[in-house]
């Protein structure tokens, strides 16, 4: 397989995953906003910008930080390289240049998602934002479905690799923002605002029910952190992502007969996470642990690009 093709497939995986995550984030934020008395609602949107790593760039637009402006920035803005629209543009452009490496279903799912947003200039109010976001999520689910029916070849592995790397990054930032920045001054951990916010996080990764199945203690912040960091049965957890990265790299290595730096770091990360407990993480400091995880993830991303010569 051409290195460029592999690179495009990897980025399709990343972009579609990012579009889906942003869609969920917006949905969850609208919910949190509705639950919270002001100014906590405002805080919900500010934190959404932080989670999407778009806070600084949004500041440059000189727009007021209204919920509507922020949700439009995250959904439709062409100047935000991580908006859902930009992600789908980039995913489609990559998909088009490697059309023949994708199954027809996978291509059509991306193309449909792109067509859906193409003519839109404004999200309107929360109701119509929700309907756009719902449509995007349906299309990205369609893409995931199409992927599962694809031949289990390198193309499949590279898309999966991109998605797993992106997912780890998103999940880590989501927990980090919540733990560090979200709670307004004067609110206490475990208070009503705090609880709404944790619920929101579970919503953002569609893990509400999963949490209830796995834990009977009611909503406890450290358990949510454990679920999202360490539980392999939770597909969006850091542990599951780490495992998935190793699995896809193994599959590629089996077909090409080559393994290298990316394989080594990815396996190291996987075994470190496996040996870690939530108590260790908290004693080390959750923020520090998450920052290290995000940095590791970035190193694996770099190593993958170098190993397969994405160029």
């Amino acid at each position: 397989m051409l290195s460029r093709t592999a690179g495009s497939l990897y980025w399709i995986g990343r972009y579609v995953e990012r579009a889906e995550f942003t869609a969920r984030l917006i949905e969850a934020t609208i919910r949190l906003d509705a639950l919270s008395p002001r100014p906590a609602g405002q805080g919900a949107w500010d934190s959404a910008l932080l989670v999407a790593a778009a806070d600084y760039d949004f500041g440059l637009t000189n727009e007021t930080r209204s919920p509507l402006n922020i949700s439009r920035y995250l959904t439709l803005s062409a100047s935000n390289p991580s908006s859902i629209r930009s992600c789908l543009d980039a995913a489609r452009s990559n998909a088009k240049s490697v059309r023949t490496a994708l199954s027809r279903d996978a291509w059509e799912a991306i193309n449909r998602a792109w067509l859906n947003l193409r003519g839109r200039a404004t999200t309107g109010g929360n109701q119509s934002t929700l309907s756009i976001v719902e449509a995007i999520r349906a299309e990205t689910r369609g893409f995931e479905g199409a992927l599962h029916r694809m031949l289990r070849n390198e193309a499949y592995a590279f898309i999966g690799l991109g998605a797993a790397i992106e997912r780890a990054d998103n999940t880590a930032r989501l927990i980090d923002v919540k733990y560090h920045l979200l709670l307004p001054d004067g609110e206490r951990v475990g208070g009503p605002i705090d609880r709404d916010q944790w619920t929101t996080i579970l919503h953002a990764v569609s893990a509400n029910t999963a949490y209830r199945w796995l834990y009977s203690e009611g909503l406890k912040p450290w358990l949510v952190a454990e679920l999202l960091c360490l539980r392999k049965e939770m597909p969006r957890s850091l542990a599951a992502s780490a495992e998935e990265v190793v699995m896809h790299l193994n599959a590629i290595g089996k077909r090409t007969g080559l393994q290298s730096e990316a394989d080594r770091i990815a396996r190291m990360r996987q075994s470190t996470i496996e040996r870690t407990s939530i108590d260790t993480i908290f004693s080390q400091g959750l923020h520090e642990w998450l920052s290290a995880t995000i940095a590791d993830n970035g190193r694996i991303h770099q190593a993958i690009g170098a190993q397969f010569r994405f160029g």
Partner: protein, 477 residues
């Protein structure tokens, strides 16, 4: 205009619509199938093309303006003997083109024998002095030619243009046939039609046959400018049907005059490049230095004999419109016989007499830029406005060497589905001729382009043209 006296390929004459006896069954099919039914099938074909993404981008419009080329459901048809006559003429012509290119970039006998004025070749921008002495593998320059033919009567075919650089359109030939097989299967029961689906195999064989050195299995790739190019669908379609990699310039690198492609398993040596990038952009070290589409060092690798470029660079000198008028002499010079496929009579405006004749008859002639394509820079005298004629008159006086003129031909018509039922529309025809080390192959088919506007003679897709399937019979119906 022109319709009344034009020859219709199915009806014989569009005035009577009686049907040429050999195609009476097709004429019956046309008249007995309700236009609404034809329209339904045509729309189904177009919807399928859109879904497959058989689109082309119109330059100057944004990406959302991806369009499909209109498809016409009424096919065109050739008898077995019409086709075998055409084939003979095509083989002769393409062999002459290849001999001519080898001569021009080699000994230049044709210039020494004064068949063609020397300055017309050596001073032509399509002639590439830096490729002088090039010896492409097996001596073949133009591996893929698309020869544009027009017809004016039962046995009267003319070559309108030779395309010896990177002719496109073959994906339409193949996809149109797929659509017809699905939507009008009864036609294929009615007539014994020769299959064309072997084209990708023939193309791959041609590519493999010109590999620079005998290798177990030569590595062939298709080099595309990328997915923003208007013909990208065709590039990906062909690469996919041949099972070869579709590469962009960034995927290739030249090292020690060898070409390599970068893959996830490391570098892989490339033997044959079917390139769909124009000469000007193929190697920034030799041609346009600011080209991002090209591969630095590619021409050096080619000149060193380490890679085959399909088509070879520099073939533009053979299909230049200024050279076109000498094609009968060129064919005769290299084949030893008269050209079996005649040229359209051509006035070279660089010659004073021809210029005067052209200026005196602008309202009757077709005037073309020698380096124009796609139907741009062209005057069709009989349908032009006064202002357009005067504009061309001024341009001709200013730079006569840039123009040629030809009589306006009464191009043949083929019944075509229009808003007001089935009606005759003018067509041309582009068969694709493959030249490999084992000889010339022509897939029995081609691309028929049709001018959808009533009376129009311009078939280019950029000017409102459409396409049709072209059926070539295996025996008598």
């Amino acid at each position: 205009m022109a319709i009344e006296r034009a020859f219709d390929e199915i009806w014989g004459s569009s005035a009577t619509r009686e049907g040429r006896p050999e195609f009476a069954a097709l004429a019956d099919w046309i008249s007995s199938t309700p236009p609404a039914e034809l329209d339904r099938r045509q729309k189904a074909a177009e919807a399928a093309f859109r879904q497959l993404g058989i689109t082309f981008a119109v330059y100057g419009e944004e990406e959302s303006a991806e369009r499909i080329i209109p498809f016409d459901i009424v096919p065109r048809i050739f008898t077995k003997s019409e086709w075998s006559n055409l084939s003979e003429g095509l083989v002769q012509r393409v062999e002459a083109i290849n001999a001519f290119l080898a001569d021009i970039y080699g000994a230049r006998k044709i210039l020494k024998d004064k068949i063609i004025p020397e300055e017309l070749i050596l001073g032509n921008p399509q002639f590439r002095p830096m490729l002088d002495g090039a010896k492409p593998p097996h001596g073949i320059f133009a591996h893929i030619c698309g020869i544009d033919l027009v017809r004016t009567g039962p046995g009267e075919f003319w070559v309108l243009e030779d395309n010896a650089r990177t002719p496109s359109g073959v994906s339409y030939m193949l996809e149109n046939r797929e659509a017809m097989l699905r939507l009008c299967p009864e036609l294929f029961e009615m007539f014994p039609v020769q299959p064309i689906d072997s084209y990708p195999d023939s193309l791959l064989e041609t590519l493999q046959s010109v590999a620079p050195r005998p290798a177990g299995k030569p590595v062939c790739v298709l080099l595309t400018p990328g997915h923003f190019n208007s013909a990208f669908y065709e590039h990906s379609f062909l690469a996919d049907s041949m099972g070869i990699e579709l590469v962009e310039a960034a995927d290739l690198e030249v090292d020690d005059d060898m070409v390599w492609m970068r893959t996830i398993e490391g570098r892989v040596k490339v033997d044959v490049i079917y390139r769909r990038i124009d000469d000007d952009y193929i190697d920034p070290l030799v041609f346009k230095p600011d080209s991002l589409l090209g591969v630095p060092g590619l021409i050096a690798a080619y000149m060193a004999g380490n890679v085959a470029l399909v088509n070879a660079p520099g073939t533009g000198i053979a299909d230049d419109k200024a050279i076109y008028s000498y094609m009968p002499e060129i064919v005769k010079y290299y084949s030893g016989g008269e050209a079996k496929l005649p040229n359209v009579e051509t006035y070279r405006c660089r010659e004073a007499g021809a210029l005067q004749y052209t200026l005196d008859n602008l309202d009757k002639l077709v005037v073309k830029l020698v380096d124009g394509s796609g139907g741009y820079g062209m005057l069709v005298g009989p349908t032009a406005t006064k202002a357009q004629i005067e504009e061309f008159r001024a341009a001709l006086i200013k730079e006569p060497q840039r123009y040629i003129a030809q009589p306006t031909l009464a191009l043949s018509t083929v019944p075509t589905l229009t808003d007001s039922g089935v009606a005759p529309r003018h067509v041309d025809f582009r068969p694709f001729v493959l030249s490999g080390s084992k000889g010339v192959t022509i897939t029995p088919g081609g691309l028929t382009r049709v001018a959808l506007r009533e009376g129009s003679l311009v078939v280019n897709s950029s000017q409102g043209g459409g396409t049709k399937d072209s059926l070539i019979l295996a025996g008598d119906a």
